[in-house]
């Protein structure tokens, strides 16, 4: 949990920006907080916000949530490899709090210290508290989404994941998979839909890893 404390700040700032947007849209505090608590996905919440209309296009919103959150299928399947020995009644509630960063941190920690489901839960809690708390704060305090706040919300998650790279580099046998991931993600983000850059870029790099290794 301590390792993920910086996310209390970054997710708090991002949740605050999201809350201010909900507030501007006329949503009440209870609905906005419930949105952040139950949906708990910046991409899904942002895309459903962009589709906001009366009446609400529910089917289109559900399809958009599935499309933007399909990466969680891959993350969940990977977590099964790490924690397959645990009872589903322990893992399934924890997955409610699964986020990109908590999965990335848990994967990195599993490489260093072995699988630990407690690490997944512990790293997820500050992120969720920050996100939901930030949304609530938007209604409780007279705040505006200013420069440093927006900057912290946008950049800290990327910077935090960048700090995990040196430990990951130790397991890398050649630079080609990472280069492939970077180039593919760049192309998808630049010429396609940025929301797919992580999944497609990472998928391309992983295919190169599979072609290079016969035993991993």
């Amino acid at each position: 949990m301590v390792a993920a404390l910086p996310f209390l700040l970054s997710n708090g700032a991002a949740g605050l920006v999201m809350g201010l947007t909900y507030k501007g849209l006329g949503l009440g505090a209870a609905h906005a907080i419930l949105f952040s608590l139950l949906v708990y996905s910046a991409t899904a919440q942002a895309i459903t916000l962009s589709m906001w209309a009366s009446p609400l296009p529910i089917v289109a919103m559900v399809v958009a949530c599935i499309a933007t959150n399909s990466r969680y299928l891959l993350m969940g399947a990977h977590l099964r490899q790490l924690f397959g020995g645990l009872a589903p009644r322990k893992m399934l509630p924890t997955l409610f709090l699964l986020a990109d960063a908590s999965w990335l941190m848990t994967s990195s920690d599993a490489d260093r210290n072995g699988p630990d489901a407690g690490y997944l839960l512990g790293s997820s809690i500050p992120m969720a508290v920050g996100w939901v708390g930030g949304t609530a704060l938007a209604y409780a305090a007279p705040l505006a989404a200013n420069g440093p706040l927006r900057l912290a919300a946008a950049l800290l998650p990327t910077m935090f994941i960048a700090t995990l790279l040196p430990s990951q580099w130790k397991n890398v046998r050649s630079p080609w998979p990472w280069l492939t991931s970077a180039v593919a993600a760049l192309l998808v983000a630049r010429f396609g839909d940025p929301r797919w850059s992580m999944l497609i870029g990472g998928g391309c790099g992983t295919l190169v890893s599979m072609m290079e290794r016969s035993d991993a």
């Binding site: 977590l79 990335l104 910077m159």
Partner: protein, 100 residues
């Protein structure tokens, strides 16, 4: 918009998102460790890290790129996350202030 209708939409979207989070875990129960999909999943994390960072740097603009590079270099030198994040955010804020 009716409160109850809004509540229903939030619940539907919440269930959809949870289904995506838990779906991969549940479906993977039928997958063998030595299968192609199993190998793919074992090798995926580092590559996804890189793709995540590239996407984040692009959306953050030059200030994001500067901050991420400074955070990465500081982490490689000091092995301290708080130092890396502080240096990275400071660099991004400075870059943003001068109009990058």
């Amino acid at each position: 918009m009716h409160d109850l209708q809004l509540l229903g939409v939030i619940c539907i979207l919440g269930v959809t998102c949870y289904a995506m989070r838990a779906g991969g875990y549940v479906l993977a129960a039928s997958m063998r460790d030595d299968s192609i999909a199993g190998r793919f999943l074992r090798l995926a994390p580092g590559n996804l890290f890189i793709a995540f960072i590239v996407g984040g740097c692009l959306s953050g603009g030059p200030a994001g790129l500067v901050g991420t590079v400074v955070a990465l270099v500081t982490m490689a030198i000091t092995a301290r996350e708080w130092a890396a994040l502080g240096a990275g955010f400071g660099a991004a804020l400075a870059a943003s202030t001068i109009g990058w």
